[in-house]
Amino acid sequence: MIAAIHNIYKTYHDSDQLIEVLRGTSLEIEERDFICITGKSGSGKSTLLHILGLLDSPDSGDLEISGRKISSLMSDAALIRNRNLGFVFQFHYLVEDLTASENVALPLLIAGESATASLAQARELLIHLGLEQRLNRYPNQLSGGEQQRIALARALVNKPAMVLADEPTGNLDPGHSKDVWDLMYRLNSELGQAFVIVTHDVEAAAKAPKSFELAEGVLIPR
């Protein structure tokens, strides 16, 4: 098991109202898992992913990564994120001043690797993903699908144990969306990283080996 959450509770304050989005949610993620989580808007899917990615803290409950109890408030939370987790968001959030390969190299640079080694690894991965023509393009010179594939490469370059994707195809047209899904399946199979994907795309999620629906604050297997 590479990560797990146990009995997670999370409540938000909305004006004078308390919204309990997670009510004792639990999930275990094994190596090479490909997990899709669906649910209605506001059901807490992204919150769950953020807690799993140490970007948010639960009100109660435990989070384990590689057998160690972790909290987003720990001083080394950023280091754990850099070494163990990869992130893909609905928007690509690429740094506009950097080329595709430079964007992909960022996690390695943050980890302290040299620029030369980081860029070499980034280029290798982008070539593996069929983006060799886009290595030196800036984000505004890329299509939406290419931007998201580069964001996916950025999430994978430091070989994390788990990739967390929040609506990775939410901004793409059906053609590009299918490309990204295919790529995620391919990378999961080739590179062995676990994928936890939050999506509204029920049809795509149904094809995943493990699929859950987040309803009433708990995960229901589908």
Binding site: L55, F87, P107, L109, D166
Partner: protein, 404 residues
């Protein structure tokens, strides 16, 4: 500096056009360039004023004057003896005997007070460069007068003017006996130092002796030395050499308070104009705040990928800092240009009776360049640092939620 910061820094240096020249920086750059330009120009002009005034004082007066301790005049024999001793000193460049005396100049109904300075033109004459069309030496009954004095009295070279010497020690039953003699104006003295240009009258020692009714006497020895900054110490040394019957007075005894005042004014101007840079700093704060808002997602992603807030702050500090420092340098160049324009313009001249000199000069010194650069850079750096602290408070989650 960690690897991430070094990477971004090299990126900014390799492709400055893409990474640093942004529209959001325009007003920041303009503010810095203008404020630093004005600060630099102000300092350059004050430095120029101080330097021109100092040079004119050094050029227009003796660096050290030697007078008799107990009488108004030195005899020629005393003077020759003193000159022989003074010329042996390695710091002494020249020693010139001279007569100085206040008197009046009259032309028609116009009478002005003036200062007579008489020299022996046989030797070196240090003030020749300030005399327009200097003939080499003055003939008998020829004088040179300050150009402002000539203008006030409506005189020009070739005209005659009467010099009147009120002899207070020769009072007759009819009143004070005035020595009076007519002289031909051989040239005009124009040094730029208003006091001299307004009052000086240069004559031959023989003519002065005749006018003042003295013989074989001079009033002082004018000494020029290698390093005028050490005049005060050297004057003490020369006094010891010459003995107690002579008094040595250094130039800065009269001028030091004036030069200190000018220097103090220069640094006051520096402090006042530094506030302009501070005001330009508000634009910097605004630009950095805008960047933090614009780049909120990038900042959030960098934090998500594991970058710490300190590194992210430095990355943006380098970006804005490089533009700001470049703006400071451009501002200094602009300041130099402004100083040059002010120096070269001809439609405004200083009022000599107020500012001692009538020309505006600029002087760019390495120390002033460094002072402006350091002060402006420190102020701008502070204005960059203050808003960057917002990055510490950026919540990754709240930024991502805003976009979903």
């Amino acid at each position: 500096m960690d690897r991430l910061e070094a990477f971004f820094l090299s990126k900014y240096l390799q492709a400055p056009k893409r990474n640093l020249f942004r529209f959001s920086f325009v007003f920041m750059v303009l503010g810095i360039v203008l404020s630093v330009g004005i600060l630099s120009a102000g300092l350059n002009l004050f430095e120029g004023y101080e330097s021109t005034l100092r040079n004119l004082l050094l050029d227009s007066f003796a660096h050290i004057s030697v007078q008799s301790s107990d009488s108004a005049y030195l005899s020629r024999e005393q003077a020759q003896e003193a000159i022989a001793k003074l010329n042996k000193h390695k710091e002494v460049l020249s020693v010139i005997p001279s007569i100085h005396y206040p008197l009046m100049a009259q032309s028609g109904t116009k009478i002005r007070n003036a200062n007579l300075r008489a020299y022996d033109f046989a030797g070196e004459f240090p003030y020749a460069k300030y005399i327009e069309n200097y003939p080499g030496e003055l003939q008998e009954s020829e004088i040179v007068i300050g150009h402002y004095l000539a203008t006030e009295m409506g005189l020009q070279p070739g005209d005659n003017v009467s010099l009147i010497y009120p002899q207070l020690d020769r009072i007759s039953p009819l009143g004070i006996y005035n020595g009076q003699q007519s002289f031909k104006i051989a040239g005009l003295y124009r040094s730029g130092y208003y006091e001299n240009d307004r009052s000086i009258i240069i004559a031959n020692i023989s003519d002065a002796e005749q006018l003042l009714l003295i013989t074989n006497s001079i009033s002082k020895l004018e000494i020029r030395i290698r390093n005028p900054q050490q005049a005060r110490e050297l004057a003490k040394g020369l006094s010891a050499i010459l003995g107690s019957q002579y008094t040595c007075i250094s130039w800065d005894l009269y001028a030091s308070s004036l030069l200190r005042l000018v220097e103090m004014e220069k640094w006051l101007i520096f402090i006042v104009f530094t506030f302009l840079v501070l005001i330009a700093g508000f634009n910097v704060i605004s630009s950095v705040s805008t960047i933090i808002i614009d780049k909120g997602n990038e900042i959030a992603v960098l934090k998500t990928l594991g970058a710490n807030a300190k590194s992210i702050k430095r990355i943006y500090a380098y970006k804005v800092g490089m533009v700001a420092i470049l703006s400071v340098v451009i501002g200094q160049a602009f300041g130099a240009f402004l100083s040059w324009v002010v120096e070269k313009q001809t439609f405004y001249r200083l009022k000599g009776d107020v500012y001692f000199i009538d020309t505006i000069g600029a002087s760019i010194t390495p120390f002033n360049l460094l002072a402006v650069f350091v002060v402006a850079s420190l102020l701008i750096s502070l204005c960059i640092y203050l808003p960057l602290r917002q990055i510490d408070r950026i919540q990754i989650i709240s930024l991502f939620r805003q976009n979903t």
